[in-house]
Amino acid sequence: MNARVVLDPTGERSPAVRQRVERPASLEGRTVGLLDISKARGDKFLDRLSQLREERGLRVARFRKPTFAKVAPVDLKHEISTTCDVVIEALAD
């Protein structure tokens, strides 16, 4: 028995898997978040990405997780979700 399976309480008219937000057709006028998860040299990669975005005239916001070993703090997730339209995450070293 898997206690982590629940029964859908709804009329089941929409998919059970939550849908991803649609990819924007263009980054024009949008804010791009760059998330450094604190892996080694992730900042170098994001610095370069930041430079490229800014050359295209896009707004860039930088974020950093305190540690790659834990999920992002709620406040950080909230800040990213309320200030950015898209996010690029530097995942690995």
Partner: protein, 458 residues
């Protein structure tokens, strides 16, 4: 004997071990066709389906015996001289199928496939409570996760089939099964024995007469108010006394909540979506209570509304939040009725007659005044309708310096505040306090919502 006998045993039961030679003998004779052993999966499943609670058990059709009693076994099998050298009697042991912990797991394993609802796996990193919020399934308060085991346990509260359709739930007009009601009842925090009341409430809400779709969509304050009558109220521990309209009683709180979760989840009726209430009211989380029938000077609400005494019932009313009537001085029904009338006139607006019904929750201390004065419910209603027949000149637009009111052309006549069948009384509350409550309604009659009383099934 037309049917053969099956036996059920388990390994760690001394009585089962004791009677092994007897079973072997009966199998040899062809009297017992099969011995199910709860130590293997197949035996456990067979035992679960046979609903065995005690082993050893002998089962033939609907008949069964448990434990070891030589005389009983001889009679049941029709074989004399069983178990030579064994004691005459030994009690049995509990079946593995009813072991705490295992019972729920077996229900899911052997009966879970009977559930039709979509399975939604939660991700490993999701907090269970947060996950249910995130999916939009709650009313703003946390809900209990509707696992298969919990839903199966909930379904044990009714004799109705899980796939039976209870109602077509607006606004999405979705056929709602007993199972879907059970899922939402689990989430609301109900115990299985509340389920029949929830089922009746859902059915009543979704009638044309009650019109839950319009009630949901309205900008008005109101939501479904559930009043429970009959023996089930006491059987499931509902509150009809101190703080009857308030918090703190599980049945009151969760039955009303389950109804609202069904409307939200199954019907798709959500605030800001089809629910367009300007302000709403806190009772839209849950508004459910029982009538105190024993202490009442009057017949129960359900009886007045046509059901037999002793029949459990729900009455649904499209109500807003309760407003208090304070009268600590009246000792005659004539005087107290005037206090009721004064507050009843304020339902919706003191200048609007006939459009809104009302329920009056009469507390024990106020009910005492009517009892001692010899007033029946019918008398009280009649007196209130008379007291609340208002001269049109007071009600017309502009009268009293207020633009709200009835059209000028209707000002020449007198108008009753309530329809003759628009004023109802129910007895509830603590024994101290000369306070009653008025629950104002929504648009009444065929164009709005009419109260519905429905028997609670099993």
């Amino acid at each position: 004997m037309t049917e053969t006998i099956v036996a059920v045993v388990k390994r760690d039961c001394p009585t089962c071990a004791l009677i092994e030679p007897v079973l072997a003998d009966l199998v040899d004779r062809g009297v017992v066709s099969v011995v199910h052993r709860e130590n293997d999966d197949a035996g456990l499943e067979a035992s679960w389906h046979l609903r065995i609670e005690t082993v050893p058990a002998l089962v033939r059709g609907d008949q069964r015996i448990v434990g070891w009693s030589r005389s009983q076994w001889e009679e049941f099998t029709g074989v004399a001289g069983l178990g030579e050298g064994l004691p005459d009697y030994r009690p049995g042991c509990g079946s593995r199928t009813v072991e705490p912990g295992l019972a729920d797991e077996l229900a899911v394993r052997f009966n879970g496939s009977s559930l039709r609802s979509r399975r939604v796996p939660l991700a490993e990193l999701e907090d269970e409570a947060e996950a249910l919020f995130d999916r939009g399934w709650t009313d703003g308060l946390p809900v209990v996760a509707p696992t298969e085991a919990r839903v199966l346990r909930m379904l044990g509260g009714t004799s109705r089939g899980a796939d039976e359709v209870v109602a077509v739930v607006p606004p999405d007009l979705v056929e709602c099964t007993v199972e879907k009601v059970a899922v939402n009842a689990v989430m609301a925090g109900c115990r299985p024995e509340y389920l029949p009341v929830v089922l009746a409430a859902v059915e009543a809400a979704c009638t044309e007469r009650f019109n839950i779709h319009g009630l949901l969509a309205t900008t008005y304050f109101s939501g479904p108010v559930v009043i429970v009558n009959g023996p089930i109220a006491r059987a499931i521990g509902m509150n009809s006394g101190v703080n009857a309209l308030g918090q703190g009683n599980r049945a009151n709180a969760t039955i009303g909540r389950a109804l609202q979760l069904v409307i939200r989840n199954v019907g798709g009726g959500r605030p800001g979506g089809v629910d367009r209430a300007t302000l709403g009211n806190p009772g839209k989380y849950t508004f459910c209570f029982a009538e105190d029938e024993e202490g009442s000077p009057w017949e129960p609400l359900s009886v007045e509304r046509g059901l037999d005494p002793g029949v459990s019932a729900v009455t649904l009313f499209a109500g807003e939040g309760p407003r208090g009537v304070v009268d600590q001085a009246s000792r005659t029904p004539e005087s107290l009725a005037r206090s009721f009338a004064g507050t009843l006139r304020t339902v919706a607006n003191p200048k609007l007659p006939l459009a809104f019904d009302a329920f009056v929750v009469v507390s024990p201390e106020h009910a005492r005044v009517f009892r001692e004065g010899g007033w029946s419910k019918a008398r009280l209603r009649e007196e209130l309708l008379t007291l609340l027949t208002i001269d049109g000149s007071e009600l017309v637009r502009g009268a009293g310096g207020c633009d709200e009111g009835i059209p000028e052309a209707l000002g020449g006549a007198s108008w009753p505040k309530f329809r003759p069948d628009g004023l109802w009384f129910v007895h509830a509350g603590g024994t101290a306090g000369m306070f009653s409550a008025i629950i104002g309604g929504w648009i009444n009659g065929e164009t709005g919502s009419q109260a519905v009383t429905m028997e609670v099934g099993s």
